[in-house]
């Protein structure tokens, strides 16, 4: 029951993500219903696609009557950043079987990734059950919030306030990551640089490449700074 590696412990670790997803998922459900999706379609998109930013992309492109192939291609690029997240989790989940890794990867999101990597860097290892608990609590909350938003979309005047749970969750996750990082100065530099590069790239060419480019730049800067700082002063 109180197994720190168990399913229940993983689900508890996901409480903050659940809370954030209730707000954002509600907003997503409102928009999906307004774009003409049925309840069954809202349930399907939130459980099977299960990707907040991609669902907003699908709904807005559907309302613009975009060709389906263009929607799929955009979703692919928006979600390509998961390559990096999935690769970053891989060293921590090496003890698992391939099918376990595949199932856990299917439910990977930005938020569960950060909670999991904070947990893994604090005291490895956590097992498949812990990760499944985290994933399932977030996934269930997301689907429930989407449906609630769809059901109440007629009454919701403004989804912006609830949607603001997302940037707040990002801010909280950044602070927790920085506080736990063994190299605070380097980590802070990575954060600020990635933010600046993302804004610059997005202004130059809006789209998912700004996120991917900023992430590649930030991580490379972090590695470079750390290597440079650990060179003995005499040989600089």
């Amino acid at each position: 029951m109180n197994d720190p590696e168990g399913f229940a412990a993983g689900a508890r670790a996901g409480i903050a993500v659940v809370l954030g997803y209730l707000g954002i998922g509600f907003a997503a459900g409102v928009v999906e219903r307004a774009a003409g999706l049925s309840y069954a379609e809202v349930l399907l998109i939130s459980t099977v696609l299960y990707a907040g930013s991609a669902q907003f992309v699908v709904t807005s492109m559907l309302s613009l009557a975009s060709p389906l192939s263009a929607i799929v291609l955009t979703v692919f690029f928006v979600n390509l950043r998961h390559l990096l997240l999935s690769a970053a989790l891989a060293p921590h989940l090496r003890a698992l079987r391939p099918w376990q890794n595949a199932l856990l990867g299917l439910q990977l999101t930005d938020e569960t990734f950060v909670v999991a990597s904070a947990r893994f860097s604090a005291r490895p290892p956590a097992g498949a059950a812990w990760m499944a608990g985290l994933n399932m609590s977030a996934w269930t909350a997301w689907a429930a919030a989407n449906l609630a938003g769809a059901a109440l979309s007629g009454f919701a005047a403004d989804t912006r306030v609830l949607g603001f749970a997302l940037p707040c969750m990002f801010a909280g996750l950044i602070v927790l990551q920085l506080a736990a990082h063994p190299r605070f100065g380097v980590a802070l530099a990575v954060t600020l640089a990635a933010a600046a590069v993302a804004v610059a790239l997005h202004l130059a060419a809006p789209g998912p490449w700004a996120i991917i480019g900023a992430t590649l730049f930030g991580a490379t800067l972090g590695l470079g700074l750390r290597r440079w700082m650990s060179v003995p002063r005499s040989s600089r």
Binding site: A16, L49, A87, G218, G222
Partner: protein
């Protein structure tokens, strides 16, 4: 309550192209030991991705520059950061930030 066939096909296709980058690295890279520099590089990925997502979301709402105090997201986010540093609580940060945004907007 129906699922239209073209919507079903759209959702399944989107789910497939989303699942591949989520699953493939986890399955393939967890088979062998990564070099230490790559593990360290990957250790900076969470912060970089969060900072990029947050900066675009808040500084460029709708793709347009929003660097002004008329953008209620900026003071609300500053409040969220302050609460996060002070409390180290994710839940508290989300509640405080949304409340601040609601008051300001």
């Amino acid at each position: 309550m129906d699922v239209r066939p073209e919507i079903l096909a759209l959702i399944l296709a989107c789910a497939l192209v989303t699942a591949l980058p989520r699953v493939l690295p986890l399955v393939a890279l967890s088979r062998f030991e990564l070099p230490s520099w790559l593990r360290e590089w990957l250790g900076y990925v969470p912060l970089a991705v969060l900072a990029a997502l947050l900066a675009i979301e808040v500084l460029l709402p709708g793709g347009e520059p929003g660097f002004s105090l008329a953008n209620p997201a900026l003071p609300a986010l500053a409040a969220a950061f302050a609460i996060a540093v002070w409390s180290r609580s994710l839940i508290g940060t989300v509640i405080a930030g949304v409340a601040a945004y609601w008051l300001l907007a």
